[in-house]
């Protein structure tokens, strides 16, 4: 019942006109993504998402996954065939190293493809998304043998991957984990314990599943410093790559949950399962962080993607649904009522969503490009600058894009009135699916603490100062341009709020860290608004220049109106966040726990 059309024109504008993708041709892989190649990739990704994945979204929600008594799990009808197309099309290996069968293309393209796939079918896309995250951790921290054994199959999508962190008593605080690893004479480990909330932990899409598992080696220090990372295949792999015996890991149950029913969320029971250490003993968090950072950007894209598909459906409904007459007088005089898109309040809702989506897409692409530079440049300084950006923006994107993505899905559902509450119309599935993105890969409160407690002070605030400098320089350069004032003036104000908030935190959070905690979420939201405002100002400048050079198009005109809407109605939210941050932790911490 829902529709989806990949935003190819917007992606093309960003890649070519805003971020000048071809300027990066000195980096490995970029030259391989010449305009015709990347157009082909984007168009084919759009086609697959629209025609293969989107039609399975509702059935995935309705059928969900089924666990059988033997611990095996069946995915919804059609998932297996669709997964085969994704794997055989080489989509998992788009950015993977060619030595393991990948195409070595920029992750910037991979994130674009990911947006399309997740809009079309979020629950489905998690199967290969997690595989790519697990492969990334193996690539960075695995040894040569492990890489050779697992990466080609994972890159080809023949085997999928998982991340096993959470246990019943530990989520955020991984130092509490109890799963234990006992070293064996042959250098392997026996892993025993229970992991919960394991996405894609068991399913029927691939012949093997490669679990990356955090566990504690016997005798290791307590807390996070005694945690190690292991690779634990569902089916043991022989040295020649062929499949051997079933390993001691089973899916004990699957969760009945609010959404993403098409993805199996498993309790995984490890019972003397054979695993191999990845990286060094007690340094498991390093490998996990590679996966988590990769995954956090992926989850940010989930927020954007659900917001985008919900928007498209709300627009279609608002154009079709006839109800009431325009306040300024009837418009569709040949019909019994006007389409509800004539109503200012409906348009306000639609523009709120759209203005966020386009800024969020730009933010994802900007950050993905920095990720490419950080990983591929041969210039150490360039790598450092890009890596600073990546570290700073990862929690902002994860937190803000998923918070707003969810609330946008709710707004889009509202456009449908009562019909939005009915399962068959699909809008409520977007809401339920989008909800998880605010929670997993570090709940958004944790993202805010990561931003304020870790990313902000790191290297003497180098990353945030670079961000301020870049946005400030843009505002200075274009502040005198009359046409740019509707974008630059509010951007400057919001940047000033962010700078004041940053100063306040520096002055007040060192001595009393609760001040950082009490303001963290507002700081993250404030940061996100400024970053979106900057993206809008950049996009507006490009659109204005293109119109001046080649004349207006509907796309460019719409871009400018949408950007003005953002500057008028969304960006002014920064003042409220600043006020909340400056309120400090007084009332927040005053009550004893029993008073709540």
């Amino acid at each position: 019942m829902t529709i989806y059309k990949a935003p190819v024109e917007d992606v093309s504008f960003l890649l070519n006109n805003v971020f000048h993708f071809d300027k990066y041709n000195n980096l490995p892989g970029f030259a391989d993504a010449a305009p015709d190649v990347r157009d082909a990739i984007i168009n084919e990704a759009a086609r697959l998402s629209e025609q293969v994945l989107a039609p399975l979204n509702a059935v995935g929600d309705r059928e969900g996954c089924v666990r059988h008594d033997d611990g095996s799990v069946t995915t919804p009808k059609g998932f297996k065939e669709a997964y085969k197309q994704i794997a055989e099309g080489g989509w998992l290996g788009l950015s993977s190293p060619p030595e393991f069968g990948g195409q070595g293309l920029p992750v910037t393209l991979t994130q674009t493809v990911a947006e399309f796939q997740i809009s079309a079918n979020m629950a489905f896309s998690m199967y290969h998304g997690l595989t790519m995250g697990a492969a990334a951790a193996l690539l960075v921290h695995g040894n040569a043998e492990q890489k050779a054994l697992y990466l080609p199959k994972m890159t080809a999508g023949e085997w999928t991957g998982t991340m096993n962190l959470t246990e019943p008593q530990c989520g955020t605080d991984l130092g509490l984990l109890r799963t234990k690893a006992v070293k064996q004479a042959d250098g392997s480990y026996k892993i025993t314990g229970t992991k919960i909330f394991i996405s894609a932990g068991e399913h029927d899409l691939s012949e093997n599943i490669i679990h990356l598992v955090l566990a504690r080696i016997e005798g290791a220090p307590a807390g996070i410093k005694g945690v190690s990372l292991f690779v634990v295949p569902k089916i043991l792999v022989n040295a020649d790559g062929s499949l051997g015996a079933r390993n001691g890991v089973m899916c004990g149950s699957i969760e009945h949950k609010m959404g993403i029913h098409g993805n199996a969320t498993c309790t995984m029971n490890y019972d003397d399962a054979t695993g191999w250490l990845i990286g060094e003993e007690n340094k498991g968090m390093q490998g996990m962080f590679v996966m988590m950072n990769e995954a956090r950007l992926g989850v940010a894209v989930q927020g954007l993607a659900q917001s985008e598909v919900a928007y498209q459906n709300a627009v279609a409904y608002a154009r079709e649904r006839l109800q009431g007459r325009a306040l300024s007088g009837p418009k569709a005089t040949d019909k019994p009522a006007d389409p509800i898109i004539v109503h200012p309040d409906v348009r306000r809702v639609l523009l709120t969503i759209r203005a966020f989506n386009e800024a969020a897409r730009a933010l994802v692409m900007w950050t993905a490009l920095k990720s490419d530079v950080a990983h591929r440049s041969d210039d150490a300084k360039e790598r450092q600058i890009a890596d600073d950006h990546l570290g700073l923006m990862t929690p902002v994107l994860k937190g803000v894009l998923t918070d707003v993505g969810f609330s946008n899905a709710v707004l889009a559902q509202q456009v449908y009135g009562g019909h939005g509450y009915i399962a068959a119309n699909g809008m409520e599935q977007f809401v339920r699916d989008a909800r998880i993105a605010m929670i997993y890969e570090g709940a958004n409160g944790i993202q805010a603490l990561d931003l304020v407690g870790r990313k902000l002070p790191r290297d003497g605030g180098r990353a945030v100062m670079a961000f301020f400098a870049e946005v400030g320089a843009f505002a200075k350069e274009h502040g005198g341009d009359e046409a740019m004032k509707p974008f630059v003036t509010p951007l400057s104000t919001s940047l000033s709020h962010l700078q004041q908030a940053t100063t306040w935190l520096m002055l007040n959070a060192m001595a009393a860290p609760d001040n950082a905690g009490a303001g963290a979420t507002d700081y993250m939201q404030l940061f996100g608004l400024v970053a979106c405002g900057y993206m809008w100002a950049k996009m507006a400048k490009v659109a204005q220049d293109k119109i001046a050079a080649d004349g207006a198009t509907p796309y460019l005109t719409t871009k400018l109106v949408t950007g003005r809407f953002f500057a008028e109605r969304t960006l002014p939210g920064t003042a409220l966040h600043l006020a909340r941050i400056q309120a400090g932790s007084g009332t927040v911490m005053e009550l004893p726990a029993e008073a709540f």
Copy 2:
């Protein structure tokens, strides 16, 4: 898995100390609700809600309602027995006229009871909630014979009631409705048509269901001016009150929807069903408005109630869940980690919800008292003032309490982390159930338009001016009181924002009504914030006086801290709403529909 404890102490504080319930003893019914009587009622309502209704909330969600081939509908296990207790306990007739078997008590008490019942089980409470709304319409617009025939049974809960407005092609715009009524020789009408989204349209809780149905009499004018209201019993009622033949109305299907699974949302097919006109021909909207206004306040209470129960569960979880250590150093040193309620960001979330709930509860009680005065006072001027308030605040309460109630349920769910996404923990049900309250009885965008387009200009702005005068007078009276400054200073600022917004609308919306439409939702939210801020200032004053007189209690201390939190962090949102309103409709209306 969830808990619920009715907020009896807070209700008592509001009734006795803030609103001085006993001052209204000159009104019919109030003297019957002397302190001991109302305590008994409130405590018994609490007990029933906590012990009978709450345990059925999860099972209602899980089982849902089932329609059988003969059109009959079975409610979830336990609902029938619980409904019997509610009906036999006389809870439907608490405020109904004694002549029809009611107890004639103030609706202020009924709304308090409603909050408890809806917190405990929203889907269940709709069965009797809708009955009370339908009975109210019959009471006001029915003739003597109709009242005698239906009201005693409805008051006793032996028969339930419904509202039949929506059709596939019409929801908000009831002028589009097609259900037709053909007058018969005996004065009755034959009703034919299809109604959708009929809550409690068919079920097994009562022996008869009294449908109130909007339909168009043959030959009536087009649009809303040709709509009449009919009473159409599921089973025809003989003159002596006994049940006769089955009427021509059937449940054609029940909806699969996002939440409130325990309530049957039906498509009702009317096929030459026998109905009787309520009130005058073509004046059906008058009767419907009685039901709708009643229902809108009831839906506002749903927003509060879901926010309250979600809050209570989030608090319980935050006290128990051990994860991480306090930023200021470990607190539970005997445990492997601190309970997460030590974390400022968790407390911020909890206080955000709590500060809203307590203001919302005060707003509901304030408005319910005005409703009692409007309906029971023998002083015409007093009735008019109260009715002005009721008309003004109904859309504000419906829109704001359900918008914020939903977002609070989402916040509470977030406290649970991944466990909040799991069905068995119950938090996601609160979110799904709360979602509908933003939609039905007039989607919240419609509430905003009702406020801005109808309630604001009515009688030359008399109602809103009275509101400004009352809040302004309070601020003036207590503005010099040092202890009250944390409450009064932000209240004065927010009131000034509301007044500026009102002036802006007056100056800009007459000539260009799109300016009203584009700002309506922000105006409603701004109004709600000021109203909540006023409630907080009133409550703070009472709490301070009580502490000065009798010493501090944990309840009163917590009240003041929570109120300060609201003043510091929630109330400052008014500036953002004002900025958005003043942005006008320019960018909102600029794009053609096809550009979205």
